[in-house]
Symmetry: C3
């Protein structure tokens, strides 16, 4: 293991734990908007923070991450009550939250891809794994809270993961070091999402001429 | 294997099969309220009875229980038609049903935890597994029937599993035998749910001062 | 490996890829009815085409099919843009689409059962696996698009898989060769669905005398 790998691993671990924190806060706030009780909020936070990585690990058939490192659960059990206690301050911090949610999105994309490559999957599958890791927790959160999954209101959410993943692959192809690739992809995803939301950008919506009842 | 373990295993097997029966009936009734046909009812009963244990087994990476012991499927294939045939009697037996559903809740919590410990997981993870086993089938049932998951209308549902699980861990910590721990936890969960529903108890709902559109 | 098995494998491979194509088109059209963007459509197509087989492979604990053969992803990445480009022609081809969707249903049932038997499962479990493979992708598609799962509007969908699966088992019991069994089951499912839809057949809906609030 080179020094570079050690640095990258440390970097990924720090980012990973901050991703769990961010998504736990995002899940808690959504659940509180639905006026759930403490345990309801905890379960939605759990699904949001762990859903994507769980699917990723099951697909790869590696041990599920939060079942083998209790640090993840501890972070969830700290982040959720903190989000509950400070709930009325957090809503005035909408931008802070958006910032954390966006960090989570970038981090989970990068971690999903990095694990995909570590397990020997192709670039295309690594992008699939990164996107699933980043987006599935939010889909679960919305299903549990009976919302139309946000990913499809604002599909740009998933689009940024996919395009960011393609950038990751391109940098690796040109021999950029892992640490640099991870950091550049991460910041590109975060900055892209800020720009997209700030300027209300969106991809063209596809639609059919008439609504066709699906046969 | 001690006599005690044999007894506990026999006890757990009996409870397990009665849990499948109860949840199959619960799923069948929900599906019939949605006016499904025979196979639709069967599929919802299947998802309700097997959903929680399937997630548990996939997370642990042990063989999925109903794929390796056909007794579970036979019980499903008996319980569902029986529920269909007696559907108009069952609704006058609302309390009987509630009784069975509650038994299922208690049994699945205890079995999920017991399997968690058998596979060497920590108390915290065992409680997670117990809660997932008890609650996930009901979430699936409600998603398939397009209801807001009941677990979040009446979150006390999951809360009782989590608190019951904490009691299980406490008894084990103080060296109480497995059979006693299982039985006490089971009856505590059942009695707690009866009291909660009878006296319409609930935990305080958490909410935000204003609805904050999720950034 | 006999000549017969080679033929059957080739047959199943061809059918399998055509099943992915059909379900990718079905998912794309549903997503475009919801006015999603390109990546949203791609994700719904992905879930529809791969959902059923993924659950099947996870339950069996065999490698997930699309993670180990990129041909499936290539077909998805060709079928989805083609469906998008020709979307306004496809809706005039409603019968063509229904034809493809029905082929997918038959193919996935047969492939799910065939894999179940290959892995040594009983006829009853093979039918469960076939039905899950054929129907789960559509359930996912509808959850992601926030529809009441179509399987339960028109439950005959799953019923045909289950009855077709029973026919498969019966033919195998009487020693019919695998190729013939696969082809007969496939065409029986396809023809049955055409007849059912053409003559608006349905199984009787089960309902309760009064709506009983679920205790």
């Amino acid at each position: 293991m080179t020094q570079n790998t050690v640095d990258t691993n440390l970097l990924l671990t720090i980012l990973d734990l901050s991703g769990v924190w961010s998504f736990a806060v995002s899940g808690s706030l959504t659940a509180m908007q639905k006026r759930m009780d403490f345990f309801g909020v905890l379960i939605v936070a759990f699904a949001t923070a762990f859903g994507g990585g769980t699917i990723r690990d099951i697909l790869i058939n590696r041990p599920v991450f939060w079942m083998h490192n209790e640090a993840y659960l501890y972070i969830l059990f700290i982040a959720t009550p903190v989000a509950i206690i400070f709930r009325n301050y957090l809503q005035y911090l909408r931008k802070t939250l958006f910032f954390f949610d966006t960090i989570g999105l970038g981090v989970y994309t990068v971690i999903g891809m990095q694990i995909g490559f570590t397990w020997g999957y192709s670039p295309m599958l690594a992008i699939c794994l990164g996107t699933l890791t980043a987006c599935f927790g939010g889909v679960l959160r919305d299903l549990l809270c009976s919302e139309i999954p946000l990913i499809f209101h604002r599909e740009i959410y998933a689009s940024i993961c996919i395009v960011g993943g393609a950038g990751y692959v391109t940098m690796m192809y040109f021999g950029v070091s892992e640490t640099v690739t991870v950091l550049v992809t991460l910041f590109a995803i975060i900055i892209a999402r800020f720009i997209v939301v700030r300027y209300k950008l969106s991809l063209p919506m596809l639609h059919l001429k008439d609504n066709m009842p699906h046969a």
